[in-house]
Symmetry: C2
Subunit: 218 residues, 2 copies
DNA sequence: TGATGTGAAGCGGTTCACAGCG
DNA sequence: CGCTGTGAACCGCTTCACATCA
């Protein structure tokens, strides 16, 4: 065993760990006790070898000949991913996407609480939406600092995204989920992940166009 | 030169092409004429060598000593990605996320028209939301076939996602963007991309937890 | 001269195959 | 015997370095 220190974990591994966890939680609901790397792979769209390799980067959690204990592995993964606690999140931009996120219960279910929302439109600020106070954009730094918020979600128009990111970082946020369709510059110490719906659709467009695939509409 | 046939293009390359395109469109708005691989890289969060390699997979589009013509490269990328046309999209599930997507103008701006929406809740069906007709779920196959829709978006609860996917595929859809937090099984000929907001946040949680990073809140 | 296009090297993630152990 | 854990092989993406050409 040699998995103590900060070995480099790839982004793809981390993403798969999250997928395993999501699946394990489903198995827990179903009351399943044990699960093999083969079953895990099937449910998560990967291979048994990949599952075992991913897990082996962190330790030995299975029982040879039997598989993994669902509940134990679930807790282990929660630990690895840093989900043994709840995270406070700041949401900036309460437009279409922002308000959808405010009402999206899956976030809280999985440990992420939107602690404060912000918008530059006075018509939206001052009220409580889906149980979350909406502050004017000017108060971002103050409120984020005060509430010790560590994660930010940007759901503003692309023009404002960089400015907002700078403010979030300045206020102490360590990672940002960006829904604005632009790349954002942050210091190395901060992580940004951009989710661009149209960009994903463009990827699908490429598959259908250039594809080895011929959609058979009989 | 050797970029005629169906060489294998990696998912990461396709994603970057989309990012380049997004950036080029911004440069077009700014009236920029030329752009170098270095500038492209800066604006897209990658390296000049990567930019040139990505583009070289499809041809030679630059002028040595000068760079790339913004407008020309933009059109080239649109062609490669299959964006020289508009795509009709079916949206299934008009809850929080679904209705946000209905009103999200960036999709139409980038070539994706939601041609029909579906929901199983009778309270939502029959009306027109954001200019899109909302049909009862039972009519999915019929309407998707009739309108020759090729792309599907799933924004239902996770329990219904697989069933909906099967119906979409059965109705002739060739690719699916899935917002339900579950992996989905489809025939090999169909592409699925899953966008799970909480899963992305979990990735950020890992970075902050296990990170080489120490968020300095002074 | 300056930036592209690209073979070749480098590197890291994935797959394989099997030893190890319940 | 079955499934995990893992070194080694493999493969493909990224990076490098430079020939090439406007």
């Amino acid at each position: 065993m040699s998995h103590s220190g900060q070995r480099r974990i790839s982004e793809s591994t981390v993403r798969r760990l999250s997928v395993y966890l999501r699946f394990l939680r489903e198995l827990t609901r179903q009351g399943r006790e044990l699960v093999s790397s083969r079953q895990l792979a099937r449910g998560c769209g990967t291979t048994p070898a990949q599952v075992r390799k991913d897990l082996s980067l962190f330790g030995s959690f299975g029982k040879r000949g039997r598989g993994y204990t669902v509940d134990e592995l679930r807790r282990t993964l929660e630990g690895i991913l840093g989900l043994g606690r709840r995270w406070r999140v700041a949401l900036v931009g309460v437009g279409k996407i922002g308000s959808a996120l405010l009402g999206y219960q899956d976030l809280a279910r999985r440990g992420f609480d939107i602690a404060a929302a912000f918008d530059s439109d006075p018509a939206k600020t001052g009220q409580v939406m889906s149980g979350v106070q909406v502050y004017p954009a000017e108060r971002l730094t103050e409120v984020v600092r005060m509430q010790q918020i560590e994660l930010g979600i940007i759901a503003t128009p692309p023009e404002s995204a960089q400015t907002v990111a700078d403010e979030l970082v300045g206020a102490g946020v360590g990672a940002i989920l960006n829904f604005a369709p632009v790349e954002i510059d942050v210091p190395e110490s901060v992580t940004v992940r951009t989710m661009d719906v149209a960009l994903e659709l463009e990827g699908l467009s490429f598959m259908l166009t250039s594809g080895d695939r011929m959609p058979s509409r009989e």
